[in-house]
Symmetry: C2
Amino acid sequence: MEFSLKNMGTAAKVASRFVSQTSGKDRDRALMAMAEALLKGTDEIVRANGVDLAEGRAGGLSEPLLERLSLDEGRVRSMAKGLEEIAALPDPLGKGDRWINDQGLEISRVKVPLGVIGMIYESRPNVTADASGLCLKAGNAVILRGGREAVNSNRAIASLIRGALRESGFPEDSVQLLDDPGREATQALMALDDLDVLIPRGGKGLKEAVRVHAKVPVIMTGMGLCHLYVDRSADLGMAVDIAVNAKAQRPSVCNSIETLLVHSEVAPAFLPLLSSAMEEAGVELRGDGRVRSLVSMASATDEDWDTEYLALILSVKMVDSVEEAIDHIDRYGSGHSEAIVTGDYGTSRKFLDQVDASSVYVNASTRFTDGSVFGFGAEMGISTQKLHARGPMGVEHLTTVKYRVLGSGQVRG
Amino acid sequence: MEFSLKNMGTAAKVASRFVSQTSGKDRDRALMAMAEALLKGTDEIVRANGVDLAEGRAGGLSEPLLERLSLDEGRVRSMAKGLEEIAALPDPLGKGDRWINDQGLEISRVKVPLGVIGMIYESRPNVTADASGLCLKAGNAVILRGGREAVNSNRAIASLIRGALRESGFPEDSVQLLDDPGREATQALMALDDLDVLIPRGGKGLKEAVRVHAKVPVIMTGMGLCHLYVDRSADLGMAVDIAVNAKAQRPSVCNSIETLLVHSEVAPAFLPLLSSAMEEAGVELRGDGRVRSLVSMASATDEDWDTEYLALILSVKMVDSVEEAIDHIDRYGSGHSEAIVTGDYGTSRKFLDQVDASSVYVNASTRFTDGSVFGFGAEMGISTQKLHARGPMGVEHLTTVKYRVLGSGQVRG
């Protein structure tokens, strides 16, 4: 297996050198061909997906997971549309600035592809198409490592995409799927020398595996332990609406909240409102002692503050100041998205300034942290680290820079 | 040791929260105080340096290394001047752009500090002052890990800097020196959770140690295996001048060249010129078989192509095309700085487009890859990786971004 992965790495490197030299127009043509291939191959994809669904059902996959895994004609059409939208984005490559330095050297700093990208994901099979499209758009080759439960769907999608690449005059190894089911394959990918960057998309378990096994530069995405703090000056109706949206609108995603912090002065008025709204939304509340002294609910332990539920569960804690809320977020937050509801100007600024996260909200739901909502187009994931990309990652973040220096014989004195 | 490093990490995190909230003016004031403290403490620094020099001499350190290690009044004055220059740079924080999205959210993307930076270096003790200054300028705390041979000098410098910070109202733990001499201390620093980024500055050995031990995001700097390719259309006089400058002007730095590639058509005319100029510059040449059939010199083995000499040695290889030169660079280059001497327009563009390195030169010396030469001010090092920073890294690269999102009750539909 190691040997074949090494071969995949070499093939990806060769392909990336080719793709890096293509024009934006050629890459867009290939993206359109990929979209068409998915549409034409709809039956093939749906059939392969049927095998995954049957195996998943037999293996006891939960209904929500089966729902996420499932592909029908409409979902294949969405994948194809996603690729067309990526084709319509401006070419991220070749742009830059240019200046003349003291020695008369003409220096340009231009955007170039990263090279070979490794992507690990366990999400829905549409990521196979999205990630392939975004990487190709930015002139990169990609090695994809999808979830075991979607392997047949991913194989069908990748195979159609590779066919379209070949027919467009691109090396089919610009997109490769690592479909060995073993955990060792994932670990070997994390250490593959030929990767210029590894992008894991997942929760705490994957993050920890990356920390232990990764030997190449990493952009960690998709891990979100987010908070909403309801300040003493909050509009309580607004706070309830935002809390319900941030928790329950789509609980399985990284920008939903896991913990609500409420100021003790408004807790007696706010908690009953929260409790009934959350009950209606089907959300289980778990509170600390002070919270439970006001409204009856399950008990939150220390472990709750540290848990990304990704489910209809919300832990609730009472605090006595915005500073205490910020300290709690500093300790338990994942640096993804954090929100405050407040009517106080100074408190809003303190929260914005002092909370260390990719996206900090005043009087809005954390659910807005998203590449397309922010206006960047399709996204590769949401980075929770600080290097290279922080927050929603678009095509732009799949590039690096190169300095091109034109001289006329200059040497350094 | 682990325990005390953990304490250093916690202290750095607390300090970084403080520093991140200071104004640019306050940070500049602290930088000026640090400069003044170094000047006032010159005797103290020079005395500590004397201990390092004596120990180094007793331990058999080479003369060039002793020279690099040595500090006198002039060098201390340069360190202080470096800090004053950093103070004079514009504040990298707080700048950004701002837009309104479809939901009416006001989104700003602003520059914020990275947080806690770990820096490993084996260079001259002036890095202790430079790195402290650059990190503080960008609102960060730093944990410094200098070379064992400079430990007394580094202690003296760090102690003066910490005193100046304290007197300026900053936490002295904004700058900490990890002075435990053991290799385990370095490895523990590479895995320290509290670091937002680790910046190792050094050669292949350090790079490999980082690959094995690092558990935090890394920006690798200071490793340079650079090439000069002399094309068949080169001005041979220019090629000789650039080769001598790129090899011999300062052989111990990462932007000097290690291998020269020469096109077979001009090799008979070029190699005798190169040989006599390099002899004059005290450079030992090591050639492949075809090179040695034209000019007598030592023999280059495969290991030579893979070696960063950092010394007055140059390996020389004959190639039959620019493509062969690019392939060699692709295989052995470290992605730092690569140069071609050519008179051919098409060849110059091919080299610029296809060579994958931070800085690619036409008709100029690789020695120009440098933050101040490029116009960025003082530099933290030269990154040879593609993520976050590539090429010379200035104050700008010690920052990340944060999205500040102002709403009026928006929830996601």
